[in-house]
Symmetry: C2
Subunit: 328 residues, 2 copies
DNA sequence: CTGAAAGCGCTAACAC
DNA sequence: GTGTTAGCGCTTTCAG
């Protein structure tokens, strides 16, 4: 900026004003300065500007990962949520700082805020440490999380209606005459737990009670699907349907079942969760519960901005929809 | 920091030194200050620190998208590359600023650097505007791109060996006795063009010349696979194999062909490209060309750091590998 | 319409 | 071992 000032024969104040299109500065001077800036590929140093203005147009997007299992950022659902968030945030002129934290230390997600790097944090996924998030909220970190709404929650969540989602999925399978419905999913995660609740509700509505033998607490590991299918085989339990807590898990499980010679959906009908893009191209095309990613992303951003504004933002539960395809 | 200084009864200099674990400051004072900082959830304001230190630990990761088609950030390959980059950059202590630019204005990728937000830029995908990238390089923007190496290139690329990849894929199909091999891909993209070259080379080695009727310049649109398959049908061309320039495209195409009653691989053998995670779970499991994402991510980061250091970084071409599965 | 000066939060000589 | 001071790049009163 000093360079430009010198070249234009004005002070840095004038350059600053010109660059911010202040009407105070002479039209001609302004044009000269803007031209100069353009030709030098000059851009305002945002760090310094932020410092001076005490403002910030950066939002941190944080993804909790299972450190223990060294899981890669790989579930297409999370990734596409990131894409939708990128859209929503860019549209509002925010920069996006992406980071990952250990799912067992989600409170580390506050770092970009504490360090003044971001005005707030969006967490894609809630992990199992509700208490850590509550503490973060208590000490005033503005953040919202994509996840389930829990009792005594001090923070704002945006999430799908997991109970209904689980119920819809299970009802679909029941409607097809299936009675031995396996459930794959780690119920220590609140979202999965709620989907499981929907599953139990649907069973109950048909006078059935869940068979614990049919529940495999498969985690989000690379090999999870295969392992879960193998586990059922080891237990020697019969099943004619599967409700998997994510599409990725459903696809891996279908692959494993196919290797056991099972036909999908004839032998085992399958419903997944998330409606990732590839679900419709999978074979058989996957029946699944759709979560509205774009709406969710906008809701997350809106809620965060409300929080940053010092107001309180209510949690949002978005409707889920059963997408019926060939797998069930 | 001033608050802590006051509470600790010292000057901000001492606080600054204590926080950076300087041995200059008295052990006892230091512990008192660190405790205080912890209890206040204080973290250094990195913006201010960067300003003062004239340093920066942020790298911009930029993804070119086809604005015209409003394409979402959806190809799992790009997303998982982002994941690998996040790993590689975090490991080196860098923050990641993610943004998307219009593929027709890739030079906008320089913005985070120009604005002092990032020390350099990693572009995931090269787009079709080689010239814009060359100009960016010429004016000293430190950046590396995941993409193809081109003649007269002033910038650094890291990419797979696309020609070999294309050759391997095509050879596999030829080895299975296929002779009418369709190629789906937008050859205006350098990487795809090179894969096409490998395809042509492999054909030539078998005394075949490429039939232009078999080439569909399908873009990376959501519906691309279906459209490409429909286009072949419209042209009335017979084919017994398909080489798709991405796994996503391959999967969509397989889905479309299956709807036409074709059996994969009996009627049409298919090879994809990228080896995304779901390829092995697809039905049939996809034969594809693997690109080493983790190695690539590390190479991209390493090259960028060399550039930031003011040295010049050679382009890197990583080996590709044919992963044989059931689809071909 | 423009410039001088102060200060955002931080660090590093330099002094003591 | 600690404090004083200046300054990173920017904006904005306040004076002209």
């Amino acid at each position: 900026m000093a360079d430009i000032a010198r070249l234009a024969g004005v002070s840095t104040s004038t350059v600053s004003r010109a660059l911010s299109h202040s009407p105070l500065v002479n039209q001609e001077t302004r044009d000269r300065i803007l031209d100069l800036a353009r030709s030098l590929n000059y851009t305002i140093n945002i760090g310094a500007q932020n410092l001076r203005l005490q403002q910030n147009r950066t939002v941190a997007v944080v993804i909790p990962i299972e450190q223990a299992t060294r899981q890669q950022l790989s579930d297409p659902f999370f990734l596409s949520m990131l894409g939708s968030l990128a859209d929503a945030l860019s549209a509002q002129g925010f920069d996006i700082l992406v980071s990952r934290v250990d799912a067992d230390e989600v409170d580390a997600a506050a770092a970009p805020f504490d360090g003044g790097r971001a005005i707030g944090v969006i967490l894609i996924g809630q992990g199992r440490h509700h208490d850590q998030l509550n503490k973060m909220a208590a000490r005033g970190v503005p953040f919202v999380v994509w996840g389930a709404q829990l009792p005594q929650q001090l923070y704002t969540t945006v999430g799908g209606d997991n109970v209904t989602g689980g119920r819809l999925a299970t009802e679909r399978l029941l409607a097809q005459g299936r009675r031995r419905i396996a459930f794959f999913g780690d119920t220590s995660l609140p979202e999965v737990e709620q989907r499981y609740r929907g599953y139990v509700e649907a069973l109950a509505a048909h006078g059935l009670s869940p068979d614990p033998q049919l529940h495999v607490a498969s985690s989000f590991l690379p090999e999870s699907g295969g392992q879960a299918v193998a586990e059922l085989a080891r237990r020697g339990v019969a099943y004619d349907a599967l409700f998997a807590s994510s599409d990725l898990l459903a696809m891996k499980s279908i692959h494993a079942m196919r290797e056991q010679g099972k036909d999908i959906p004839a032998d085992v009908a399958v419903v997944g969760y998330d409606d990732i893009e590839l679900s419709s191209y999978f074979h058989p095309p996957l029946t699944t519960v759709a979560q509205p990613r774009d709406v969710a992303a906008r809701a997350l951003v809106d809620a965060l901005l409300v929080l940053v504004d010092g107001r309180s933002a209510p949690s949002v539960q978005l409707p889920t929809e059963l997408i019926v395809r060939a797998s069930a």
